[in-house]
Symmetry: C2
């Protein structure tokens, strides 16, 4: 698909929030973005909506590194083997999980309605489930939760008229270094974010019958 | 939160598809469902929308086992340590990844616009990336992709007025046996699905500033 010309109206320029169905259907991987800074209120709203994803025991293992400076975007692009969508996007969100931070602050994830007993129980639950595991093992669990939020993040963005392209191909060690993140964090992906300046490819998916069994 | 009485209008009984923002905000874990069979067209539409999730190389590693018979729901409930939401829901979707099936049929995931060359390239990409890995190793990769679709599935359901509760606590071996699934599949979770008959708990989440760093 060729980039749209200046005379076309970008599909992202909607004046109302998209319905869930519209958002899912119109989400495509977009690699060429409109060259303008991101509305910072929209950005925070997208992150807030992503963080409403569910997680077991409300662990909220996901973390977001939001990169908007040209210098760091350029470094991320190098770490992503030169893929140009990283610098085309006004913002790049690195989605990762941090299970060690999650464990250290487990009490804060207890529902306030449960009071002090809830906080104590939450600590016991996390220590019991993960205390005997090594960092890599529990990190893997944290990553599965972060991937659910990764899905929410892409849809929250589309719902507000933004576009993304999920990327898994990058040098994790370099990204860790660029963002000054601890060794134990595990990456879900990198997500360039902005408004589409190309149409992207239409979906090609297995049929429902191919991926679902009915019992 | 107590179940709603018969005089209250269930929040799920909306007449229009929810916006993305409404769907994300109104999604809560629901464990008591209205006792009526699921509309089968809605069910297929929810699965179709979930399968529009993105995946690296369009691998589509996710698979859905949809259980609606009382006998099998009862068996799943036992495998989930007796948790009652499994039999309260009219349908229970088991989300898992099947990387071996994914690898065997890699060609079918190549975009038709790329023709035979695309199919050949897709085969080479998958063989190169996963051919030398063992089943568990590549299964783990498949699972990360399936978790993204898991997030899409919950939001697709909510967007059409349905409710869910993601469950990770179950005996995987028993579920594998009940559904007659191969040893190598990896489970993302179990998702009871229906219309809410209780309010559920309001969200309790870290602030955006707590989970996001801005660069």
């Amino acid at each position: 698909m060729s980039p749209m010309t200046a005379t076309q109206t970008p599909p992202a320029a909607t004046q109302r929030p998209l319905s869930m169905t519209e958002a899912i259907e119109s989400r495509r991987s977009i690699r060429q973005f409109v060259q303008e800074p991101l509305n910072q209120d929209d950005l925070r709203e997208i992150l807030r909506l992503a963080s409403l994803a569910p997680s077991a025991w409300n662990a909220q293992t996901w973390r977001f590194a939001v990169v908007q400076t040209p210098e760091l975007k350029e470094q991320l692009r190098e770490a992503a083997y030169g893929q140009p969508q990283v610098t085309s996007a006004p913002a790049v969100i690195v989605i990762y999980s941090d299970m060690e931070d999650t464990l250290q602050t487990a009490e804060d994830t207890a529902h306030p309605g449960l009071g002090d007993a809830g906080r104590t129980q939450q600590r016991a639950t996390f220590d019991g489930a993960f205390g005997a595991q090594d960092t890599a093992q529990r990190g893997q669990w944290g990553l599965t939760q972060a991937n659910i939020a990764f899905g929410f993040l892409m849809l929250a963005a589309r719902g507000l008229g933004y576009d993304t392209v999920p990327m898994l191909g990058f040098d994790q060690g370099k990204v860790r270094q660029i963002l000054d993140l601890p060794e134990h964090v595990q990456f879900a992906g990198i997500l360039p974010l902005g408004k589409r300046a190309e149409e992207g490819y239409p979906h090609h998916r297995h049929s429902v019958e191919r991926v679902a069994k009915f019992y």
